[in-house]
């Protein structure tokens, strides 16, 4: 197909399925990405409670993957406190403000079950979580996954 006088960008929509992108395909792509963006979590964090010295085992966030992009963890005596920055640097190296909207979690490999208690103040960047048994006692050696939104 002819790409017009401004190839390679702007991209001129059209052409064949093999060598182009049609306007209809691009509209579908845009709609699907916008839909996914509205509902995806901000981050997924695997945490080892580590005798109440909690550590991040794995971090996958919209801001990046791994140690350099992960939040800080502290233990306040009742909760693991996950603190995100108020902004982060995006893939285009721009600083973008950020506010969390909620969180949930599940235990991983507990001996007798329980759940992950979550305390989050809406639109703050601090999430407090605690792995607990069914009586409410903290499981100090638990591992668990937290999904942050």
């Amino acid at each position: 197909m002819a790409l017009g006088g401004f190839a390679p960008l702007p991209l001129r929509l059209g052409g064949t399925a093999e060598e182009g992108i049609t306007a209809a395909q691009y509209k579908r792509l845009c709609a699907d990405i916008v839909a996914a963006r509205r509902v995806k979590p901000f981050a997924v964090i695997a945490i080892d409670q580590n005798s109440n010295s909690p550590q991040i085992v794995a971090y996958r966030g919209q801001n990046g993957v791994g140690v350099g992009d992960q939040p800080t963890l502290t233990w306040n005596g009742a909760f693991t406190v996950i603190t995100f920055a108020n902004s982060y640097r995006d893939d285009r190296d721009r600083i973008v403000p950020m506010r969390l909207t909620g969180a949930r979690g599940s235990l991983a490999g507990s001996s007798a079950g329980g759940r992950v208690k979550v305390l989050h103040v809406y639109e703050s960047n601090i999430v407090r979580v605690a792995p607990i048994d069914f009586s409410g006692a903290v499981l100090s050696t638990a591992t668990y996954l937290v999904v942050i939104r």
Binding site: A7, P10, I33, V65, S106, A108
Partner: protein, 185 residues
């Protein structure tokens, strides 16, 4: 000539803007933008598109599934529905008889079962990459208070976690015949 897609499949979590045509210094040729916004996609739009897609890929679950345990008449759990990065099976299947590319589910005991994926999966372009779970979350659909525990492991000792062990608990112990919604990352 057919091309090979840039980068690696989504579940490797290696997504970067460069996979999708992005670049930190992306520019329109000659600095000239769209001639007609109805027909043209600009460098600015590709830059935003690539950054958003990379962000979404990093946090998307590999698999979301509805599962019903079969404990009263012990059998492999039933997958009611499963959506994966590699495809969807809306018809469901018996956990010990998965369609190609979908995980195997095996009952361990009341309220306990495993979900095991192949060591590698293929994307829509047939590009393969290893499965490496970091964990999962779940919720259980029962009247009493109950919760789900999901631990990942490496059954073939290749340093990648292909298996999730799921336990459904309440305060009195394992919960039988539960129906769960599970997300695996």
């Amino acid at each position: 000539m057919t091309v090979t897609p840039a980068g690696l499949p989504a579940w490797t979590r290696t997504a970067a803007i460069e996979y999708y045509g992005g670049h930190a210094n992306k520019a329109n040729l000659l600095g000239i933008g769209a001639v007609d916004s109805r027909t043209d996609v600009t460098a600015e739009q590709i830059a935003r598109l690539s950054a958003d897609v990379a962000s979404l890929v990093r946090v998307s679950p590999l698999a979301v599934m509805s599962v019903t345990c079969n404990d009263t008449s012990p059998a492999a759990p039933t997958v009611n529905w499963i959506g994966m990065m590699t495809g969807v099976d809306a018809d469901g299947y018996a956990g010990d008889s998965p369609p190609t590319g979908f995980p195997t589910l095996a009952r361990t005991s009341n309220g306990v079962f495993t979900i095991t994926f192949s060591t590698s999966l293929a994307d829509d372009y047939t590009i393969t990459a290893a499965v490496d779970l970091i964990g999962g979350t779940g919720s259980v659909s029962v009247a009493a208070e109950a919760d789900v525990d999901i631990a990942v492991s490496d059954p073939n000792a290749d340093t990648y976690n292909e298996r999730a062990t799921v336990k459904v608990w309440d305060s009195s112990g394992a919960v039988s015949d539960a129906t769960l919604l599970i997300e695996l990352y």
